[in-house]
Amino acid sequence: MKYVDEFRDPELITKAAEEIRRLADPNRHYRLMEVCGGHTHAIYRFGLKDVLPPNIELIHGPGCPVCVLPMGRIDDGLSIAMQPDVIFAAFGDMMRVPGTHGSPLEHKARGMDVRIVYSPTDAIKLAKLNPQKHVMFFAIGFETTAPSTALTLLRAKAEGIHNFSIFCNHVTIIPAIRAILDSPDMRLDGFIGPGHVSTVIGCRPYEWIAKNERKPIVVCGFEPLDLLQSIMMLLTQLQKGEAKVENQYKRVVPWEGNRAALRAMAETFQLRPYFEWRGLGFISQSALRIREEYAEWDTEQRFHVPGIRVTDPKAAQCGEVLKGVLKPAQCKLFGRECTPENPVGALMVSSEGSCAAYYNYEHRKGNLLTTISASA
């Protein structure tokens, strides 16, 4: 597979790992945050911690859309879908996210009309196929998925589809990074910057991190070699005492971002004054709502949304893990009450959630595996 195999080449990976060991100062401890949940997944999926020196600590960031969504928003969405003749449509990774009275999938088993779609335009198709019903698309994601929601809104308006609305839960990445940097318990040396988000917003929005916060950030791809190269680039900057925005993922991310996508978003969305994030609390101007001109396709303007606010289960420490303050296994519920099969928090559900990634790929490995070679 082109663009995949060359970034998984064992020889190149081994070389990059050697280079990282050479660059890393053995007397220094490096704390690097990978902002994006896709990176967290890749780090565990490819076992990259096995090839990194122990003084490079990777801190998992808040870039997992399912994880940062507070439970109340899920309850809100489900409460609308409980009305007669409403179809609840969402991406597959929403299906097992727990609400107060169960996940969308559990509601489906109890009779709710819940459908998995692979893009929001599939939800429009559903609406056309079910003219007697109302299709609500539960939209989540950062700037990665927001443009496809924006295009769907444009299309719904252009085609005059009236039995369709979007429950908008889109959030933006920059305010979340700012909240992390403002948090007093966070001491970070640099950032592995989100790859997919940056295909849309480009690299410029990160410049304040380098200039004002004096932290290096490298926008990074999702293959093992991408991650190792980005870590190399961060170490090189740190060694020289520099703080710059660099783009390792040039094959996909243009420096200026995707103008057409940004235009579609500007046309359909506006910033909410504030929005609640799990773990990070209320962050101002950190989420998108649908503009007045598209009110007919906005679930929140069309239906009464109860605005349910619930706190996470008491013992769950999702917020601490989400901020990178705790490692997944340090949560009191990890692997006991909370497992991928019976998740208490969303971090254990999404493939991008650090708890699920850690549980699935790492926690039973223990320390005994350093001796296992991969020779077939």
Binding site: M1, V4, T14, E106, A109, P224, Y361, L368, A374, S375
Partner: protein, 352 residues
């Protein structure tokens, strides 16, 4: 009440506490195992439940016999490389084969939906007849029921298979030892991804066919060379290779190490899995099997497998170690590793 229930068997301990059945209970992964071990096994076998194999080996009046049963609810019923009829024969034949038995006869149950077109039914009956002939099994009997329109998606099929246990082979996870090798008969994930694409819900196309076939010739090739050195076999259907090997790891209490770079996966399967965030190790197969064999016979068994038509892409894909006990660890050539668990939930319902 029979004397047995009164005296011999301790009260069964039902551990299954879930309020209702979800799709995941039929996905062959963790939830299925909880249902079978927590509800069925205690009531059927009491406390003396053995690890559950692909087929039961019984003695009836001293005559050894293997028996198994399997139901097929695949949607759509026809897909590239096969159809529900062919699957219904091969699926049951393969369960007998990997239990170490020669498949001999099938009993067939059809549940048909009123309104099913006769030409569709005839095509499936023909597919069953052809697949049975190819696999060398007789259709010994059957039953047909019809349910109202809208109560079944066209047709469901159940096949029960009878087989003759092969001499000198005992498939038992407890016989697996550290150092044993794991053989895989060919590329994985073709069936699951073919069905996924055939549903047309994704705007993706791929040049893929289901791998449905009888694996008995390949199983025989391994047994011929490795004989009693064959410790364990399984056809990794629902839940894929990862789920089968996790069951083995739990049943034998040892660790299974897989060498990622030696596992054959077609590019179309890899591509689809990358796009959908699935792991090929969790995708269903209908014409492959895994075998754990003693190290001294592994190379000979592999050679025999590769020389059998359809076994050309067989590989040694892993080995058994003491650690990580009860788990499956996948390692890569560059030294990275990850645990691979059983399938959780059901990303691809009604795959067979």
């Amino acid at each position: 009440m029979s004397a047995g229930a009164k005296l011999g068997n301790p009260a069964p301990k039902i551990r299954f506490r879930e309020p209702q059945i979800e799709m995941a209970h039929g996905a062959g992964g963790k939830a299925s195992r909880r249902l079978v071990e927590g509800l069925f096994a205690p009531l059927f076998f009491g406390a003396s439940a053995e690890p559950l194999g692909d087929a039961a080996h019984l003695k009836i009046n001293g005559a050894p016999m293997a028996v198994t049963t399997d139901s097929f609810v695949v949607k759509p019923i026809v897909f590239p490389g096969g159809s529900i009829g062919e699957l219904a024969v091969n699926g049951t034949v393969n369960d007998l084969a990997v239990s170490g038995a020669k498949p001999e006869a099938l009993v067939l149950t059809l549940i048909l939906e009123a309104g099913l077109r006769t030409d569709v039914l005839q095509a499936e009956i023909q597919a069953i007849a052809d697949a049975a002939r190819k696999a060398g099994v007789r259709i010994a009997g059957g039953d047909t029921k019809v349910v109202e329109h809208g109560k079944a998606d066209g047709m469901y099929i159940t096949t029960t298979g009878l087989g003759a246990p092969l001499p000198d082979v005992e498939i038992n996870p407890h016989s697996v030892r550290s150092g044993d090798k794991v053989l895989l008969s060919g590329p994985i994930g073709d069936h699951g991804i073919t069905i996924l694409l055939a549903r047309g819900e994704l705007e993706m196309e791929g040049d893929l066919r289901s791998d449905t076939r009888s694996v008995f010739p390949l199983v025989s090739a391994v047994i011929r060379e490795a004989g009693p050195g064959v410790r364990w076999m399984r056809d990794p259907t629902r839940g894929g290779v990862a789920t089968s090997l996790n069951e083995l790891a739990r049943d034998c209490g040892l660790g299974v190490i897989l060498f990622e770079d030696s596992i054959p996966v077609h590019d179309a399967v890899r591509g689809a899995c990358e796009l959908l965030g699935l792991d090929p190790l969790h995708i269903a197969n209908e014409g492959q099997f895994l075998a754990v064999v003693a190290p001294e016979v592994a190379d000979a068994a592999l050679k025999s497998l590769q020389e059998t038509p359809g076994g050309e892409e067989a590989r040694i894909v892993g080995e058994i170690r003491e650690q990580p006990a009860g788990s499956v660890l996948v390692t890569s050539l560059y030294g990275g590793s990850r645990i691979v668990d059983m399938l959780v939930g059901d990303p691809l319902p009604r795959i067979c």
